[in-house]
């Protein structure tokens, strides 16, 4: 009972943190389950993917309702992210968990560095992250719903999307860290639409790799249950009340948590634990 409640609370914290800071929960769920509860990394990644689908589907529904996501562009790109996710799901069972831990440590350091850069600026720059919290309705506009962005750029978009899918499946994240910059910087999609479209794509990307884990018996339902409920509740609370919390202090705290987690993951990668 106590372990279950701790898992639930951990999920709430991960969901709330992720939602308030515009990061996907996956970044926190994997360390929570591996370092906090001693789960094997692959199992934690699989459960993280389930949680990512929950938060992505809930918020993608809101984005679609507000007509912020570019449905056609999202569907073309998710064809490639889903393919990458299946490749990543298959690779995940072939490579050593220590290598996975090393890759995760690098990801954490990258996100911490990105957040530190944002802290140095007076007004935090819009983050290209696994944002799962829809912006307020007044920010919404007409959707930019066509495929013109892909003209002449389909090959690079396809390669980047496959990469996002592989990263998602290997590390249990949504992959918005790759998809949003790809759409915004390479394809020229406005950031608001890129974020919403990335969110729409996260569901099918994570679902494609979660299915690989599921079929291979890589998902533990007893752990997935309390964690997914916690993340769902936390993300909901975070999106409703997050604006009342001081962002700067929270970001500083989060950077410290990320760096500590990165060190622990690196220790695991180097077999020092």
């Amino acid at each position: 009972m106590t372990v279950g409640l701790l898992m639930l609370l951990g999920g709430i914290a991960a969901g709330a943190f992720g939602s308030i800071l515009g990061l996907g929960g996956g970044l926190l769920i994997v360390p929570l389950l591996t370092l906090g509860f001693g789960l094997p990394l692959r199992e934690a990644v699989a459960i993280s993917l389930v949680c990512v689908i929950v938060t992505s589907s809930a918020s993608a529904g809101v984005y679609l309702q507000r007509r912020q996501a570019n449905l056609r562009l999202g569907m073309v790109l998710e064809l490639f992210t889903a393919a990458g996710a299946i490749i990543g799901g298959a690779i995940a069972f072939l490579i050593d968990e220590r290598l996975l831990a090393g890759l995760f440590a690098l990801l954490l350091v990258y996100v911490a560095a990105t957040m530190l850069r944002g802290l140095r600026q007076r007004e935090p720059a819009p983050q290209a992250t696994d944002d799962e919290t829809p912006p307020p309705p007044e920010a919404a506009g007409a959707s930019d719903n066509d495929l013109g962005y892909l003209t002449g750029r389909l090959p690079v978009a396809a390669v980047g999307s496959v990469g996002a899918g592989v990263a998602s499946a290997l590390l249990g994240i949504g992959g918005g860290l790759i998809k949003v910059p790809l759409m915004h910087l390479v394809l020229g999609v406005p950031l608001r639409i890129a974020t919403a479209t990335s969110n729409l794509m996260i569901g099918i990307t994570a679902s494609a790799s979660a299915i690989v884990y599921l079929v291979r018996g890589g998902i533990d339902a007893y752990v997935a249950g309390p964690t997914a409920i916690g993340v769902f509740v936390g993300a909901t609370l975070g999106s409703r009340f997050g604006h009342r919390i001081g962002q700067r202090e929270l970001r500083v705290l989060f950077v410290l948590v990320l760096l500590y987690t990165a060190i622990e993951m690196a220790r695991r990668a180097l077999a020092l634990d």
Binding site: M1, V3, G4, M7, L8, F37, G38, L39, V50, I53, V54, S56, S57, A58, A60, G61, Y63, L64, Q65, R67, A69, L71, R72, M75, V76, E78, L79, A82, A83, A85, I86, G89, A90, S143, N145, D146, G203, I204, A206, S207, A208, S209, A210, I211, V212, L214, V215, R216, G217, I219, D220, A221, Y222, V223, A224, G225, P226, A228, I229, F232
Partner: protein, 123 residues
């Protein structure tokens, strides 16, 4: 004119797909919540190792109010919800005669099905 028609079709489609995602998520998470309450109520530690998914056992577990039945059905619902959205988009684009998007939707579903096959072959 064709572009106007496409924009209108997407405008009709988006709220419908939003409903698919929202209903799918809430129903699935409700099932997982029931399973979690049953699990925690039974005093079983989540770290005890949950039973594997067996489609045949799913109905039996739910009928017997075992946590794993609700948990697995909820997890399957969570994983299937994005694919349901793609199926909804496929039907919507089919009705509007957007064959390119129908083809894209079919390819996505094909890739997701390939995931199941990959899992089975490599499992």
């Amino acid at each position: 004119m064709a572009a106007d028609r496409m924009d209108r079709s997407a405008a009709d489609l988006e709220p419908a797909l939003a409903r698919v995602l929202q209903v799918g998520t809430y129903v699935s998470i409700a099932l997982v919540a029931v399973g979690t309450v049953l699990l925690l109520g039974s005093g079983t530690s989540p770290l005890a190792g949950g039973p594997a998914l067996t489609i045949g056992g799913l109905v039996r577990d739910i009928a017997a109010a075992r946590p794993e039945g609700f948990l697995w059905l909820g997890i399957l619902g969570i994983c299937a919800t994005p694919a349901l959205r793609v199926i909804g988009a496929l039907l919507g684009f089919w009705r509007r005669g957007e064959r390119n998007m129908v083809a894209i939707a079919l390819l996505i579903l094909g890739v997701v099905s390939a995931g199941v096959i990959t899992g089975l072959l490599t499992g």
